[in-house]
């Protein structure tokens, strides 16, 4: 049974069909890629899944539950997390606080009472947050204001913060933008580790090096519609995809 299913999802902004009749099924444990030219609807799809915009038509089903009635913050509590294309960290909070604020998952609620979760000190969550800091290599920067971090560090924090909500599915919106080869390789390792820990990944990306190297399955969008779906190898060979996106016949 698919973890996340988009059934004939459409989203219009005035006359523009940003997403048009999209069908998608993501299985648990997959690393699923979503690619396409600029304006093809990739980011809109992420925004629809995370609940930023309502659907114009169709439905999104997560773990057999229709997400339609769920407001954004509740979707994120049912296990969907996301990162932002232009990083949206809490700049005036420290790295530690950025992660702390995100301790919102049902697992946290089960573990700690209301009072302790909201008014308790740091010691209660030290373990979880330390793990996240280790994972993203930010332990030595935990007291730094997020606004003062280097770009690469900010990206890692953005990812760590998404993971802090202990999601079942994490939506990565162009996480590799602006990275060099070394950083991309590290990102790849991290994404694989995320999957190894049991989290499913939807990766929206332009950087082919990353997409082709880490995903199990890819869907290609163009003008809001899906024009192809398959394994990385299949996609690279697909003529329609080549024409629309990867660079024609050259």
């Amino acid at each position: 049974m698919a973890l996340l299913e988009l059934k004939n999802v459409s989203r219009r902004f005035g006359g523009v069909r940003a997403v048009d009749g999209l069908d998608l099924a993501i299985e648990p444990g997959q690393i699923f890629g979503l690619i396409g030219p600029n304006g093809s609807g990739k980011s809109t799809t992420v925004n629809l899944i995370s609940g930023l915009f309502p659907l114009t038509s169709g439905s999104i089903v997560f773990q057999n539950e229709d997400l339609d009635k769920l407001p954004t913050h509740l979707r994120l509590q049912t296990g969907i997390a996301r990162t932002f294309q232009n990083i949206r960290l809490f700049g005036q909070l420290t790295v530690w606080q950025n992660l702390w604020v995100a301790q919102n998952s049902p697992a946290d609620r089960a573990k700690r009472g209301f009072f302790s979760r909201w008014l308790g000190g740091q010691s209660g969550v030290r373990e979880e947050i330390s793990q996240l800091l280790e994972f993203s290599g930010l332990a030595h920067r935990q007291d730094e204001l997020a606004a003062n971090l280097a770009f690469g560090e900010q990206r890692r924090l953005e990812l760590a913060r998404a993971l802090a909500t202990r999601p079942k599915l994490v939506l990565l919106d162009e996480p590799a933008a602006g990275m060099n080869t070394e950083e991309i390789s590290q990102l790849r390792e991290r994404i694989l580790k995320i999957r190894a820990q049991g989290t499913t990944v939807l990766l929206v990306e332009h950087v082919m090096e990353l997409v082709m190297g880490v995903t199990d399955r890819i869907a290609v969008l163009n003008f809001g519609q899906k024009i192809a779906e398959g394994s990385p190898v299949e996609i690279q060979a697909d003529a329609a995809v080549r024409k629309a996106y990867l660079g024609g016949d050259a």
């Binding site: 995370s50 930023l52 954004t72 913050h73 509740l74 994120l76 509590q77 997390a81 996301r82 932002f84 949206r88 960290l89 809490f90 700049g91 005036q92 909070l93 420290t94 530690w96 606080q97 950025n98 702390w100 604020v101 995100a102 301790q103 919102n104 998952s105 979760r117 909201w118 008014l119 308790g120 000190g121 740091q122 969550v125 935990q142 007291d143 204001l145 913060r161 998404a162 802090a164 909500t165």
Partner: protein, 301 residues
């Protein structure tokens, strides 16, 4: 010496109203309504001690509660209104409260004398402190116990996850929603707590001035409330206290020799401060620097 106690009383009450605006500002909501909640607290506490014979502590508890309830009620429609519109809405609300009290009559005869609020005349003879033999110093200490208590609570919030959550919402609502935070709950809770603090401050104010009237709860007070946290910086509660001490203490009393020109100076000071140091005195980077100076610890900024 009494003069300094009196000044300390004023500074204390102003700190309270400043703190009430502070916690709301953290969530990114600029509220000019704190003077309104303060007024509610003042009239409620006054009426309870004068007309119903309550002791001061229960009366203050009630004024604080009422302040919280009114603020909570305002908090919900306030959510529909963003940014500058909220400023306007809270300004209008504050004025509405003031106008309400301008029209409010509730007098009860006590021992041959009519006591209670009388519209434009205000509410005179709130004499709980003098009648119970409190000295100026007693009142001052009483006020500052509450100030320290409220500051301690807010300081604790700042060190806890709630404080970080308030600031996260204030900084980026979209990102806050995306990590599962319930904006409504956070913003309304902040407004409610702010209302409780303002209600408490108002109740205290009514008793140490013994005579309250609608004009005291207008735009000037609402401005003071906002000015303290903005001038002091939103990095920490101490900023608000420092600003209140500075404005009320130094400016208004220290420059007493300037006579009527003091109020003028307040406006000019704000304009100057905003040009020279738009983020206030104790903003996040400054605080970090101070913390490092004293051998910083991990965690809360």
């Amino acid at each position: 010496m009494d003069f300094y106690f009196g000044l300390a009383q004023i500074i204390g009450v102003h700190t309270l109203i400043g703190l009430s605006a502070y916690i709301v500002l953290l969530t990114g909501q600029v509220s000019l309504a704190q003077a309104g909640f303060f007024a509610v607290g003042a009239y409620v506490a006054g009426m309870l001690t004068v007309l119903a014979g309550w002791a001061i502590l229960p009366a203050l508890a009630a004024s604080s509660l009422l302040g919280a309830l009114v603020a909570g009620a305002v908090g919900f429609p306030a959510l529909r209104v963003k940014g500058l519109m909220l400023v306007i809405a809270t300004l209008a609300f504050g004025e509405a409260v003031r106008l309400f009290f301008f029209n409010f009559d509730y007098q009860v005869a006590k021992g041959g004398v009519k006591l209670g609020p009388l519209g434009g005349e205000g509410f005179r003879q709130i004499r709980y402190f003098p009648e119970n033999g409190w000295t100026t110093m007693d009142v001052m200490l009483f006020i500052w116990i509450f100030v320290v208590l409220v500051m301690a609570i807010l300081w604790w919030f700042d060190r806890s996850r709630y404080g970080a959550v308030l600031r996260a919402v204030g900084e980026d609502e979209l990102a806050a929603q995306s990590v599962g935070l319930n904006l409504t709950a956070v913003k309304v809770s902040a407004m409610t707590i702010g209302g409780a603090i303002a209600g408490l401050g108002g109740g205290i104010y009514a008793h140490y001035t013994t005579h309250i009237e609608h004009a005291s709860f207008g735009i000037l007070l609402a401005t003071f409330a906002l000015a303290y946290p903005i001038l002091g910086g939103l990095g920490s509660v101490f900023g608000t206290v420092v600003a209140a001490i500075f404005v009320q203490g130094f400016l208004i009393e220290g420059l007493r020799f300037l006579g009527d020109w003091r109020n003028l100076l307040f406006g000019a000071l704000i304009v100057l401060a905003m040009n020279v140091r738009p983020k206030g005195f104790l903003d996040a980077p400054t605080l970090q620097w101070i913390r490092r100076l004293f051998g910083g610890k991990s965690g809360a900024a």
